[in-house]
């Protein structure tokens, strides 16, 4: 009875995992296929892999676009984490006048639909002569990422017992030292979670990127979309580029996976 | 009204045997307190009697009838939880009427029963209030009342005073004890508080690590604890335990410790001789049975005053000898002198109140 239940459970888990992983597997397989194999019906699963798609991808603009994406995402994430956790700490630990109102206002930035602000942003950045630069996208992504970081980090700081910080204050640590040496290490799980989400958000964003960049600062999602417009779709190239683009996020997630699991369960301490 | 019998009941959660072969009996109309530290299995035992947990083995009888397979709703038991579990959107009166409506009682009968409980719990002026408008103690009385209106055969209380402050607890335990006596409902009361257990129980079931350690009246438990655990659990400050060896000298028996040699009291000689094993023994003496004096006395141990703790009309004195601390507790009036810190004094054990335990088995010898 118990064994049967267990087998059923494992079976169900495997089924769900397969359902989610299949498209990913499909893309990885497609990236190693030739054009003919790609379009074969029924699809072939056993074939002689080719690296031609990857070679093509590296010969195109794609490496530059990935570099742009990484620069923009990393800068915006670092800025958002620093400003966001400082702001969150302030909201969590100090009584600030009309704090609720300010917090709502910050969060509401994240609810702003991108389509509504595309045109104003375009006009603003054109006036500032920042169109098609990294800075433009970094600033725009900070807007949503900071509000997200404030919201998540405040939750984590609220969870840290005040007494832990008061004890350090009595020990002679100044408020900035208390923040760096007590609060931040204890909110590590929150930092990891926020970082991952900010990175993913910045790497995936398409609408603003496509409107504010033309060539120099073009990001990978924009580049990928353009593959489709050249004489039909080069599915092999598209797949190879997608795989390359996935790798940084996967590596980073593996590095911080322990913190991430704790972060998702919302900082249960101990 | 019912007699409850628990026979060899074991309960398993996953791989843990949380209750091991518990057996005891509660007479009709008796108030039985189940007491032990957290995790000792006392709440599981209560839930098993209620039918909320299924035993792995063993039987539970109400009035001699096996109830193992009777559903909780048909056992005619009422349970009162630590969190009170009152319905927040109902007034006190509605909270009480609710369980009676469920069994389709006549309207007059319902009113009569509610009136009776109202009188017993002194809730009359508060009948139309909602739970949030009541103090903790009042909510507790409502919860008790709701269990009582049903006139159950068995009344189960799970840490009912757990959320109340010390003063209120002292007051309510007397109220509940008297209420139970007046109604004559067989009651099982679970608590972790040994003070409450002594004050309330007609009978006490002491539990630790899933097993029943001793069953008895408060006096039996206090005066003749079955083992070291029971001896240490009841009374505050707890009993002093001193590891000793036994020595025979010229036909007389002595307790021997590096710091003292004491004759075994005559009434204990036979029991000690019969019960002793090679592993040595532990001498137990309660703080109130250790008397101190400023001058040497026969059979008194020289000690040093280590800490003084005043307590109302009493004084608790911690005494250092060797690397041990011995606690004594005495009325200030009886002390006869004012002990000072680090003063050399003499401690004497009241020979009628010396407890002897086996060091290995931890069981009482005499």
């Amino acid at each position: 009875m118990k064994i049967l239940k267990r087998i059923l459970g494992i079976g169900l888990a495997l089924f769900v995992a397969a359902l989610f992983l299949f498209p990913l597997l499909w893309v990885v397989l497609a990236s190693f296929k030739t054009k003919l194999e790609l379009l074969a019906v029924p699809p072939v699963f056993i074939f002689k892999p080719t690296l031609q798609n990857y070679i093509n991808a590296f010969r195109s603009d794609f490496p530059m676009q990935v570099r742009n994406s990484l620069i923009i995402a990393a800068s915006s994430t670092v800025i958002s984490i620093i400003l966001g956790s400082l702001t969150a700490y302030g909201f969590s630990r100090y009584s600030i006048k009309s704090s609720d109102f300010l917090q709502f206002w910050i969060l509401s930035l994240r609810m702003l639909p991108a389509i509504a602000v595309v045109v104003p942003f375009y006009l603003v950045f054109r006036a500032l002569k920042l169109l098609d630069t990294h800075i433009a996208l970094i600033l725009v992504y900070c807007l949503t990422n900071i509000s997200f970081a404030v919201w998540v980090m405040k939750g984590f700081f609220d969870e840290i017992p005040l007494e832990l910080e008061e004890a350090a204050m009595l020990d002679g640590y100044s408020p900035p030292q208390v923040f760096l040496r007590v609060a931040l290490p204890l909110a590590r799980a929150g930092l990891a979670t926020t970082t991952i989400f900010c990175l993913i958000q910045s790497l995936n964003e398409f609408l603003l990127a496509v409107s504010l960049t033309t060539r120099v600062a073009e990001t990978a999602p924009v580049g990928l979309s353009k593959v489709q417009t050249l004489m039909g779709v080069d599915w092999g190239l598209l797949s190879a580029a997608s795989v390359i683009f996935m790798i940084p996020i996967i590596i980073f997630t593996i590095i911080v996976r322990n913190e991430l699991v704790r972060g998702m369960s919302f900082g249960r301490m101990k | 009204m019912a007699e409850v019998k628990v026979e060899n009941v074991s309960v398993r959660f996953g791989r843990n045997l949380v209750l091991k072969e518990a057996s005891f009996q509660v007479a009709d109309g008796e108030l039985c307190v189940i007491v032990g530290p957290s995790g000792c299995g006392k709440t599981v035992l209560l839930r098993t009697v209620a039918g909320l947990t299924r035993p792995l083995e063993g039987n539970i009888y109400f009035d001699g009838k096996l109830v193992n397979d009777v559903a909780p709703s048909h056992r005619d038991v009422a349970m009162c939880f630590q969190t009170y579990a009152l319905y927040p959107y109902m007034t006190v009166r509605q909270n009480w009427e609710f369980p009676l409506r469920a069994v389709n009682l006549a309207k007059e009968e319902i009113q009569q029963r509610v009136a009776k409980v109202m009188e017993l719990t002194h809730m009359e002026p508060l009948m139309n209030r909602y739970p949030r408008e009541l103090s903790g103690g009042q909510q507790q009385r409502v919860a008790l009342g709701r269990a009582l209106v049903r006139r159950p055969r068995v009344f189960l209380l799970d840490e009912p005073f757990g959320n109340l402050d010390a003063k209120l607890r002292v007051e309510l335990r007397a109220t509940v004890k008297r209420l139970q006596m007046d109604l004559g409902i067989t009651t099982l009361h679970v608590t972790h508080d040994q003070v409450e257990a002594q004050a309330m129980g007609d009978k006490i079931v002491v539990m630790a690590m899933g097993t029943v350690q001793q069953v008895g009246t408060p006096e039996e438990i206090y005066e003749q604890p079955a083992n070291l655990f029971v001896a240490g659990f009841f009374g505050t400050p707890r009993m002093n335990f001193i590891p000793c060896e036994l020595k025979r000298d010229g036909g007389r028996l002595f307790f021997v410790h590096p710091a003292f040699t004491l004759p075994v009291p005559p009434h204990q000689v036979a029991a000690v001789e019969a019960g002793i094993s090679d592993t040595g023994l532990i001498l137990g003496i309660r703080p109130e049975n250790v008397s101190i004096s400023a001058s040497p006395q026969p059979d008194a141990i020289p000690v040093e005053v280590y800490v003084l703790e005043p307590q109302s009309n009493e004084l608790i004195v911690d005494l250092a000898f060797g690397d041990m601390i011995l606690k004594s507790r005495a009325d200030r009036d009886e002390l006869g002198f004012e002990p000072r810190l680090n003063q050399k004094v003499y401690a004497r054990f009241a020979s009628d109140f010396i407890h002897v335990f086996d060091r290995e088995s931890q069981l009482r010898i005499a």
């Binding site: 017992p161 007494e163 008061e166 009595l170 020990d171 | 002594q198 009841f234």
Partner: protein, 366 residues
């Protein structure tokens, strides 16, 4: 080592007057307990001394120097928190080192002090453990060690024994007391537990609703409570309060109410000499100052035994005096009969220990 002085210290939380202009002196080396129910202002007072809360008015002096403008870390004050405030990611050793870093203590001396503290607390084997690997008692020792390692001038403790079970609490409080006396460090200790306060304090400060009700030694607050609040807060079970009126007959003074007429004897006659005829009073008498007898005698009044609560070597009796319930607490050996519920017995108030309070102002009159 220092003398602490609070002068007209005042604190508001929004519209709540948490601490109302209190004055207090704690002498060098003294252990002062702030005692009161939750919300009485004791913790706010402690937090003002530590520097976490800015007083709305008044000043705090440490050795004559005003300190309320200083950052907590510049006051050289150490504190043990109720939750111990240990860092889950630091070992015991790191906890001991942490407070020494901002003090810029050189490396070799840090080593020395950590070793000294580990000796003092007997924690050598535990230095590399994390808090989650320690028992509650050990965690508390770490909290004390990390507080004392800086050799502070003032030691603050906020309900440090709350998270421990009863027996460990009794043990730890004696250890704390001895340690404080050995180090002779000025200490302010906050608790809601009057038993703890009596056991630990050189001086007890009873607080209620932001006010200090009484400052005194444990014996003073127990024997001569200033008002009804202090009288009811110290001692368990709490003092019995009985409303009555003072009446002067020809030759004697009588306390009178609908249940009894009690002629005054002994020093109580002198103590009431200045009170006017017809003064409305609350008579207060502690349960341990009642004597229960099976036969009537001079100065006794008839009562019915309502509930019996055995407690270790003592017996608590709830006695019905008309519609009043009063509690008596006596050693079991003092009874010349076996008390039964429902029995008629006679109770005597030990008049030397009877307190009289003004019914209106609740202040002590005699």
């Amino acid at each position: 080592m220092a003398r602490l002085e609070l002068e007209q210290l005042d604190c508001w939380y929004g519209k709540t007057h948490a601490v109302d202009c209190i004055n207090l002196v704690v002498e060098d080396g003294e252990l002062c307990v702030l005692l009161g129910p939750s919300g009485c202002g004791k913790t706010s007072t402690l937090r003002m001394i530590a520097g976490f809360v800015q007083p709305a008015g008044g000043e705090i002096y440490l050795d004559g120097q005003p300190i309320s403008h200083l950052y907590p870390g510049d006051r050289n004050i150490a504190m043990v928190f109720q939750s111990y405030a240990l860092y889950p990611h630091k070992t015991v050793r790191e906890h001991f080192v942490f407070p020494l870093i901002p003090a810029k203590i050189p490396g070799p001396e840090i080593e020395e002090r950590v070793k000294e503290m580990a000796d003092f607390l007997d924690m050598h084997d535990l230095l590399d453990r994390y808090p989650s690997e320690l028992s509650a008692g050990q965690q508390q020792r770490v909290a004390i060690g990390r507080a004392l390692i800086r050799r502070p001038r003032l030691f603050l403790l906020d309900e440090p024994l709350n998270n421990l079970d009863e027996h460990l609490r009794v043990e730890m409080r004696a250890n704390l007391r001895r340690m404080q006396q050995d180090l002779k460090i000025t200490t302010v200790y906050v608790t809601h537990d009057q038993v703890e306060a009596q056991a630990l304090g050189d001086k007890i400060v009873v607080m209620d609703m932001g006010h200090i009700r009484q400052i005194g030694s444990p014996q003073e607050v127990y024997l001569y409570p200033n008002d009804l609040f202090v009288a009811g807060f110290i001692g368990t079970p709490p003092m019995n309060f009985i409303p009555c009126r003072l009446e002067r007959m020809e030759s004697q003074v009588v306390l009178h109410n609908s249940h009894f007429s009690l002629p005054l004897r002994g020093n109580l006659v002198a103590r009431t000499a200045s009170l006017p005829d017809g003064q409305e009073l609350i008579l207060g008498v502690r349960p341990e100052h009642l004597r229960v007898r099976s036969q009537p005698a001079e100065g006794t009044m008839p009562v019915e035994i309502y509930v019996l609560e055995p407690q270790s070597n003592e017996l608590i009796l709830d006695l019905k005096l008309g519609d009043l319930l009063i509690k008596a607490r006596n050693d079991k050996r003092e009874f010349d009969f076996r008390p039964e519920v429902g029995q008629q017995v006679w109770v005597e108030f030990l008049q030397d220990y009877v307190h009289l309070f003004d019914k209106g102002t609740e202040q002590r009159l005699a």
